[in-house]
């Protein structure tokens, strides 16, 4: 009835065949990641690698994408993940306006397969879909791709494109749309298919099954559950309208006297009351919060973000100093994107003019070259590798007494890079370490293009296999520094064992978790303890899960958070609380449910699609609601849009269906029976007292509890036949049995 357009677009770049298929078979998995897992399960056999033509890259919208459901504009980009050492499936998430535009063009999702003979881009204007030559676009950045396509399709076009990083098969590369919205990690899959960009214009509609009156009521109702970005439901600083209300460390930072200072003329954010629909977009003043008073507010033009979203989180800046470095003074990005370039620098004090300038220089480079920072893992590794280490530190890295003495005072780069390469790059690294700010910017302007070239020292295209061969038997490799950075943490630690040791020790604070990826809202996230550990061990990249940290970071008092959680998911008789205070407590049932539900709602959000960067809606900013949110909101919107009435329990079962298919898909591609021990791992440092420590035995209990909630076998971590059957995944069970992968 409503929501889905009913068609999935498939483009085979090998044959040039373009097909439009019914969405029906994907509906049990909603859309987004769920749809993509189904495509990968059905079509990508074990043994397929990320850059094989047989790999699929799926741009998945969902039934809510393109509607006025708040937070509904995201598109999930799912594929075999080039950053993972075994290239297991994972998803990058892209906001902006591209996903809704694809829906208006008439498609719930786009599946790209095969490999074009030469560079191409895909033209989509409603029913007209064409594969077009991108020969002259190739070699250029993302900005050029957007400019070229807008000058062909018109200024309405929304473009998802890769930069030189994706073209040159830098594994740490992204696809970006609408200037600042990136799906990390997947850019080289497009590059491997010779696919530069996808331009979309849609003039059609997404139908809504509910009556106009019902829909309007529901949309307005949802606004009462929304606070600020990252789930904050109480303000960060004093507001005169609630002198006795709650305050917390949220991103609800608007206040009297604060301005978007670079707007022309400046815009006063003022106080934003909890019940005011017409200032909800002003609440999250991220420019001020991230770059500091007197800097961030002064350079903020506005807070941008995604289609249909009243919670704004992208900082649109005007930093005139950028023009001195050859870039537009106007940039936009948010969170980790704002350090994707500048994270490579050191010695710049935060919340200063230099900090925002370096950030936005980095944005201008990274978002054009299509570089992905792996959520900061690459920069953390770079800083470790570029820093001179003393003998004691080399000893910690287990290189042995002789090597430690010989290496003392040298960086890993100096030890590992071929001598000629070290000679070439050391003047640049001197700028990185130097005191001169302009020199640091020149270093960035050198480094990002250097990474994007992805070259061996002899000037040929770099590959991991060539790098491995260059290691043999133990000598230095023969790739350029840029190629080593772009290959990703998981492979680099296999090339340079001292990095693998550092990843386990984490003395430099890189926060590597496992299998090539970094932690993401781990135990440092207030009160999440074992739940965040379960979340971080589950996926094949950093988990991109915010359900848990958005809830514990919503600003309400801990006791109230636990009270509301127990109302929603309890009772947990004799269990203890779900969310910890300052002192972590042993594993309990409430914590298991917290981790489990955080995961289930993430899979739902990524499939419907909804934004997990602001949800869940378990709490509300309204005192009149006693700060209670509404756990049914996903079911309510799904029902209203599609006309298929579902309950919260139905939705949670769908979330488990999606998760279980993902689990089977991962296990089959790994050909792994012992998922418990060989997939669901944590690094040694996470059990060290120096960090918020986990306990080995306690985490084994946590796994038991979590697998029980999922209906997965405790011994192997594999889904059981009963679970597959109950979720309607009988065909998956048959395939897993024939592969010897049933518990």
């Amino acid at each position: 009835m409503g929501g889905w357009t009913g068609k999935v677009l498939r483009v085979d770049l090998s044959t040039g065949i373009i097909t439009k298929e019914a969405t029906t078979r994907y509906k049990p998995f909603l859309g987004g990641t769920g749809l993509a897992y189904k495509v990968l399960w059905d079509e990508v056999p074990p043994g397929t690698r990320a850059w094989d033509p047989a790999n699929r890259i799926i741009f998945g919208g969902g039934p809510l994408t393109g509607t006025g459901t708040p937070l509904s504009a995201r598109v999930s980009v799912t594929t075999l993940w080039p950053m993972h050492p075994q290239e297991l499936p994972a998803t990058g998430h892209m906001g902006g306006h591209w996903g809704p535009e694809l829906k208006y063009a008439g498609y719930d999702a786009l599946i790209v397969q095969g490999k074009a003979a030469s560079p191409v881009w895909i033209y989509i204007k409603d029913d007209v879909v064409e594969i077009r030559d991108a020969g002259r676009m190739w070699g250029n950045g993302i900005y050029r791709a957007n400019s070229d396509i807008m000058n062909i399709m018109g200024s309405d076009a929304h473009v998802a494109a890769i930069g030189q990083c994706g073209e040159n098969l830098v594994r740490a590369s992204n696809v970006m749309c609408d200037r600042s919205h990136s799906a990390g990690g997947v850019g080289s899959v497009m590059g491997s298919k010779n696919l530069k960009a996808i331009g979309v214009i849609g003039t059609g509609s997404v139908k809504i099954a509910a009556s106009k009156t019902e829909w309007k009521d529901l949309v307005h109702y949802q606004h009462t559950l929304l606070g600020a970005n990252s789930g904050g439901v109480v303000p960060n600083t004093f507001q005169s309208w609630q002198p006795d209300g709650y305050y917390g460390g949220t991103r609800w930072t608007a206040a009297n006297g604060l301005y978007w200072g670079a707007a022309t003329p400046p815009v006063h954010t003022g106080e934003c009351t909890a019940d005011d629909l017409n200032s909800i977009g002003l609440r999250t003043f991220k420019g001020y919060a991230d770059f500091g008073a007197g800097v961030g507010d002064r350079h903020t033009v506005k807070i941008g973000g995604c289609h249909a979203c009243p919670i704004r989180c992208h900082i649109a800046t005007d930093v005139p100093a950028l023009e001195a470095f050859g870039f537009s003074r106007y940039q936009v990005n948010t969170c980790n994107g704002n350090s994707s370039g500048s994270g490579f620098t050191t010695g710049i004090a935060s919340r200063t003019e230099n900090a925002i300038t370096s950030s936005q220089v980095g944005v201008a480079l990274a978002d054009d070259y299509g570089w992905w920072s792996d959520y900061g893992m690459a920069q953390a590794d770079f800083k470790f590798l570029a820093t001179a280490l003393d003998e004691a530190r080399w000893l910690e890295l287990e290189v042995g007494d002789v090597a430690a003495a010989a290496n003392a005072g040298k960086s890993v780069f100096q030890v590992r890079l071929p001598a000629a390469e070290w000679t070439r790059v050391s003047p640049q690294l001197a700028k990185f370490a130097g005191a001169d700010f302009s020199g640091k910017m020149q270093f960035l302007i050198w480094l990002l293009p250097e990474i994007s070239k992805n070259l061996m020292a002899d000037g040929t295209p770099a590959t991991y296999e060539k790098m491995l061969a260059g290691q043999a038997p133990t000598g230095p490799g023969n790739a350029t520094l840029g190629a080593y950075i772009g290959v990703g943490a998981g492979r680099l630690e296999q090339l340079w064992p001292e990095l693998a040791v550092e990843h386990q020790l984490n003395i430099s604070g890189g926060n590597y978790i496992k299998q090539g990826h970094i932690k993401h809202h781990f135990t440092e996230s207030a009160g999440t303890s074992q739940a965040s550990a379960l979340i971080n061990m589950l996926w094949n990249r950093d988990p991109m899960c915010h359900t848990h940290t958005n809830y514990t970071g919503n600003g309400l008092p801990l006791a109230l958070q636990n009270e509301i959680f127990a109302e929603l998911f309890g009772p947990f008789s004799g269990s203890g609380d779900a969310i910890d205070g300052a002192t972590p407590t042993p594993m309990n049932q409430a914590k298991a449910v917290f981790g489990y539900m955080s995961i289930i709602y993430l899979e739902l959000h990524n499939s419907m699609t909804l934004c997990n960067y602001t949800l869940p809606g378990w709490a509300s900013p309204l005192k009149s609601r006693n700060y209670r949110g509404d756990i049914d909101i996903e079911a309510d919107f799904f029902s209203a849009v599609t006309g298929e009435t579902v309950t919260r329990a139905d939705m949670e079962r769908t979330g488990l269906r999606i998760l279980t298919l993902f689990r089977a898909l991962t296990a089959r591609l790994m050909n792994e029976r012992d998922m418990r021990n060989n997939h669901d791992q944590l690094p040694e440092w996470s059990f060290h007292p120096h960090y918020t420590p986990l306990d080995h035995d306690d985490m084994e209990i946590a796994k038991d509890m979590f697998y029980d909630l999922c209906g997965w076998d405790r011994a192997t971590g594999l889904p059981t036949l009963a679970t597959y059957t109950a979720l309607g995944l009988g065909d998956v069970a048959v395939a897993m049995a024939s592969a010897g992968l049933m518990p």
């Binding site: 019940d275 977009g281 941008g304 973000g305 704004r312």
Partner: protein
Amino acid sequence: MAVIKKAGSLNTGEIVVPAGVAEFIHKIVTRREFLQVSGALGVGVATFSLLGCGGGTTSDSTPRQVYVANAQGMIAAEPSRCVGCRRCELACTEFNDGKSMPSISRIKVGRNYNVGPSGPTLGIGRQEGNWGNHRLVQDVCHQCPHPVPCQLACPHGAIEVVPPVNARVVVASKCEGCGICSKACPWAMTSLDGPADGPGTKATKCLLCGECVNACPVGALKYVAWQDLTKSFPPRQVVPASIQLAANVKDTCNKCH
């Protein structure tokens, strides 16, 4: 259908949409009972009869309403506040048309989102919009004073003036979906819900229901008393010379001009 929930007390801030305007105008558009409704309620100055050509009954061959009273309200937009969420476009089509369809929205932000009204020729970072200086221009209907370009160009007399705020409104029962109104508007503010002259195709234009104003999360839109802003905003398009006054309008115009 699941139980649809309603918000409790929501503060709608400075919005001054006259009570009942949206509901009233929706009746006009959806029930197609313009004459009966306006006659029964007798509110506002619906039409200004001149030279025997007032009233709402029109056909291609008979003289029809030409001169219309000024609107009493309008949507005012402020580009430096707009954050580009386009919730205004969605409120417009979802609450009026029951579907999400920015291409027929009666307020238009999407077409200026990337590079502003000047188009893509100036280069990245050198124009308005998300790819430029971040200013996002909302295009709104100016509710033109007489002569109203869309109203007078419509061959079917389908654009009428509706109380209580005298919005220039497409009456769906009379609209043939030819698209001449969208070419006649210098600001390109009317749209077609389908191919021109296609079966069931209707035009859409701003009916001053105020839903976009209600939906704006940053207060960038205001519902204010009407003023003539047609001279303040440059045209979006050149009206083709082939767009003529409707046949049953020309002769009447000649009597005054």
